[in-house]
Amino acid sequence: MAERGFQISRLPGFATVAIGAFVLLYLPILTLVVYSFNASNSVAVWGGFSLHWYADAWANEDVKAATVRSLVIGVSAAFLSTILATLAALGTTRRRAFKGQTLIYVVINQPLMVPEIVTAVALMIFFGIIKVATGYQGLGYLIAAHTAFCLPFAYLPIRARLESMDLALETAAADLYASPWQTFRRVTLPLLAPGIMAGAMLAFVISLDDVVITEFVKSGGQDTLPTYMLGQLRRSFTPEVNAISTMLLAVTVVLLTAFFLLTRKKD
């Protein structure tokens, strides 16, 4: 071939820039992980290898409570947003195009576009009114808020999966005497399952990671892990925070790896 298409990887200096970017991205994280095993009290001076910050974090009742809260909120929000996202994805791909479809698409993806701080303030005020009116102070507000901003993250992989699915499969099921429900149950849902799992995992990770909205919406004593850490940073800064961060990182990496494996194109 006389002419090769434009390839960004063939530009001069590509390798240097790429390596630089990776170092910038991962060096701080690597430092954080390394210092979580620091024996000394300082986050800047290395005092030998130790696991005692992990032990401290593990023994800390506040950390435990925040972890449980994070998990409860994350699992609930992931579960609810995935169900809503599945229904929304089916509604926007498996029926005739209808007026207002674009609007629905925009509404579902709104959390991706509106600045998070705006949503946070709005939710704080809105839930504040409800708290006063009902007297309810529980985790429900956080779960509702997380469900809302997790929705687009659950929706996108599910929708992608539905759109890449061969429609002839559902037609074939109907041809072979399956009712619409049986077609959904026996063909659409099993084929959609990896997309649903991926959506749920992504939603969970997004919920686990949230600071801004949680900080605004939570009532007293409702710290999640990230907001607990934020509170710690304001006071004494110990490698315990590094240890918690490293554990969060590990969970996130595992889930995201699973996500990529699930959404990867087969063959």
Binding site: A168, A174, L176, Y177
Partner: protein, 353 residues
């Protein structure tokens, strides 16, 4: 095969879209398909073959007209209520199920008892010679094997009618020939009515009991391969099935007066107006110039056993004659030579425009 009608389409119209951009995929189609026959829909791309099949399967509703199955109106019945199964062009095998589970799907949806599902699935696997593959995922099969699974899956519930939309088009030539024989065998063994779609005229001619030739959303002619080949109804059918020569001229009693002033006998032709006739190339005979229509030899194209001889009448009309190769060699035909043309008895067929 019997004379009982299984599928009957009556004045079926299917339009897509609205207003100026509207496409009439089917335009007043009426056809009766008999029980147990191998019926082929043949026509060029976009003529409405798939659309007709989808209407019979129930994947689409017609814009007008009715579809009957064994005399009962099924026009608005959903596909899962019709005893009709489809072999899809893309096979549409369920990728999350094994070969055996794919074949069992229809039977399970019909609520057949487990023992019957098992027995019929096994019988179907044997019928398409895939017993060894029962536990495999369909993605681990070759194209030909996937094709067989699609067939077995559609035949397992013993439908009254099997619809096949260009099922062989994805296969290479050798496999296609094998599957043609296989399909014919399955049809004879099961006695199920097959409605087969193809745009390959050779496939249609060799496999079908009857063929419907379609064009532009209309059925042009229905008949056996022989009927359609020998008595094509119009120009489209004559040229779509096999090759042919058209002669055009004034209609006289029992003959056609060509532009050259010469007469061609057309038995039964009534005088008045213009008419077109079709003559197949293998029905054209070369004789001495004094014994037939005067023509000069143009190009000679060698095809192995046959040679196509392009001839020109006095008014320039081209006629192709298919001659056995040794004959041309012995006769020593050469370009520019003057010859006479005669047509075999019964070879001249009047066709509509």
């Amino acid at each position: 095969m019997s004379d009982t009608v299984t599928i009957s389409a009556r004045n079926v119209v299917k339009a897509f879209g609205q207003g100026a951009g509207q496409v009439r995929a089917l335009d007043d189609v009426s056809v009766n398909i008999r029980q147990g026959e191998f019926f082929t829909l043949l026509g060029p791309s976009g003529c409405g073959k798939t659309t007709l099949l989808r209407l019979i399967a129930g994947f689409e509703m017609p814009t007008g007209g009715t579809i009957l199955l064994d005399g009962a109106d099924i026009t608005t019945q959903p596909p899962n209520k019709r005893p009709v199964n489809t072999v899809f062009q893309s096979y549409a095998l369920f990728p999350h199920l094994t070969v055996a589970q794919n074949i069992a799907f229809g039977l399970e949806m019909l609520g057949k008892p487990a023992s019957e599902v098992k027995a019929r699935t096994a019988a179907m696997l044997a019928l398409v010679k895939l017993e060894a593959m029962a536990g495999r995922k369909t993605s681990q099969l070759s194209g030909g094997q996937q094709q067989r699974v699609a067939l077995a899956r559609a035949l397992a519930p013993q439908p009254k009618v099997l619809l096949l939309d260009e099922p062989l088009s994805a296969l290479d030539l050798k496999l296609r020939k094998e599957m043609q024989i296989e399909l014919k065998r399955l049809q004879l063994e099961t006695g199920i009515t097959f409605i087969f779609v193809t745009h390959d005229q050779e496939e249609a001619l060799t496999m079908s009991d009857r063929i419907a030739v379609m064009s532009a959303g209309k059925i042009q002619q229905v008949g056996s391969a022989k009927e359609i080949y020998i008595h094509p109804k119009n120009r489209f059918v004559a040229s779509f099935i096999g090759e042919t020569n058209f002669l055009h001229g004034k209609a006289e009693a029992g003959a056609l007066r060509l532009g050259t002033g010469e007469r061609v006998e057309v038995p039964g032709l009534a005088a008045g107006g213009e008419a077109t006739v079709s003559v197949r190339p293998e029905q054209v005979r070369l004789v001495l110039p004094s014994d037939g229509l005067k023509a000069t030899v143009g190009a000679l194209v060698y095809f192995g056993t046959d040679t196509h001889c392009h001839l020109h009448l006095a008014d320039g009309t081209e006629v192709v004659a298919r001659l056995q190769s040794p004959a041309t060699g012995e006769a020593g035909l050469a370009q520019g030579q003057a010859v006479g043309l005669r047509f075999a008895e019964g070879a001249v067929q009047r066709v509509e425009d």
